[in-house]
């Protein structure tokens, strides 16, 4: 693929992620996000302590979207969304983060569908722990889009490749737990 064409695709995807994430936070949490600088990298999300929600996409584009935030940030976001104070990362906090991810990646999917037709979205998987990282099988580029709100940083990561016809399964994401 031409370098210029690839750059345009990445810029377009960053725009879709920003628009979707702003809309979800403003509508469901009543929060305005500050944009960080988007980056393109070979690596999946770096090791973090906190919550990562992962969701798969399949169809004309195939890949994985993730939403990551610290444990403290996860509690603050869930508290804002559900209008009650959470003092620990419990089932309800993880569920809220999974649903936020579902809405963000789901809206990106809807934008992509306008260009290339129907796509599928998996049920989100949410992981909470300390010092872990996620990896997508293969050597594809991740688009990393950070935001700031409630005194914390949240990141949306997207790894997409163009899908082939009849390719219905999202790429597997392997979760490597580090000590």
């Amino acid at each position: 693929m031409e370098e210029r064409e690839r750059y345009m695709e990445q810029e377009q995807l960053v725009g879709m992620i920003r628009k979707s994430t702003h809309e979800v936070f403003e509508t469901m949490l009543g929060l305005t996000l500050d944009d960080g600088e988007a980056a393109i990298g070979q690596a999946a999300p770096a090791p973090i302590d906190g919550v990562v929600a992962i969701i798969g996409l399949a169809g004309c584009w195939v890949g994985t979207g993730t939403f990551s935030v610290t444990a403290e940030g996860a509690r603050k976001i869930a508290s804002q969304m559900l209008m009650q104070e959470y003092t620990a990362v419990d089932e309800e906090v993880l569920d809220a983060l999974g649903e936020i991810t579902n809405m963000i990646v789901g809206n990106v999917k809807t934008a992509l569908e306008e260009q290339c037709g129907a796509m599928g979205l998996s049920i989100p998987t949410v992981i909470y722990g300390r010092n872990f990282t996620t990896r997508s099988v293969g050597r594809n580029e991740w688009i990393v889009v950070p935001f700031h709100c409630l005194g914390t940083k949240v990141e949306v990561h997207l790894c997409l490749i163009q899908g082939h016809e009849n390719q219905h399964m999202a790429r597997q994401t392997a979760i490597l737990t580090m000590q």
Binding site: A96, E113, M119
Partner: protein, 123 residues
């Protein structure tokens, strides 16, 4: 007359938010029944009468479109209005839901006003 509502979503957070919106909406709300997927919703409908179903589409076990088909095929519950509340914003999914008999479609993320507007249109 109070309106009993069945909320179907695999996310407890979304069920809680929809419940809160219903309480705040200007409708005579009765009982609110919750289900985590289409299969749970069908089981609930066997035991409890409701006047409205709010359902997600992407759910494990039985998704919202399968639930909608099953509801419209069951003479005992086919007249219950069903509103889809979902991240599935693509026109093909909307058309599929409308063709199956959904009376409304709200895309996530949603505002309380959007839900209230849909309720006002059918109640």
């Amino acid at each position: 007359m109070a309106l009993d509502v069945l909320i179907v979503d695999d996310s407890a957070a979304i069920r809680k938010i929809l419940h809160r919106v219903l309480v705040q909406a200007d409708v005579p709300l009765g009982r609110v029944v919750e289900a985590g997927d289409g299969a749970e919703a069908l089981a609930a409908l066997k035991n409890q009468k409701v006047g409205l179903i709010l359902s997600d589409i992407n759910m494990p076990n039985m998704d919202g479109l399968q639930l909608l088909s099953a509801v419209k095929a069951d003479v005992a519950v086919k007249d219950i209005p069903v509103i889809m509340v979902t991240t599935e914003g693509g026109s093909s999914k909307v058309m599929e839901a409308v063709n199956l008999g959904a009376v409304g479609y709200v895309r996530k993320p949603f505002t309380a006003e959007q839900i209230k507007e849909k309720l006002a249109g059918i109640i």
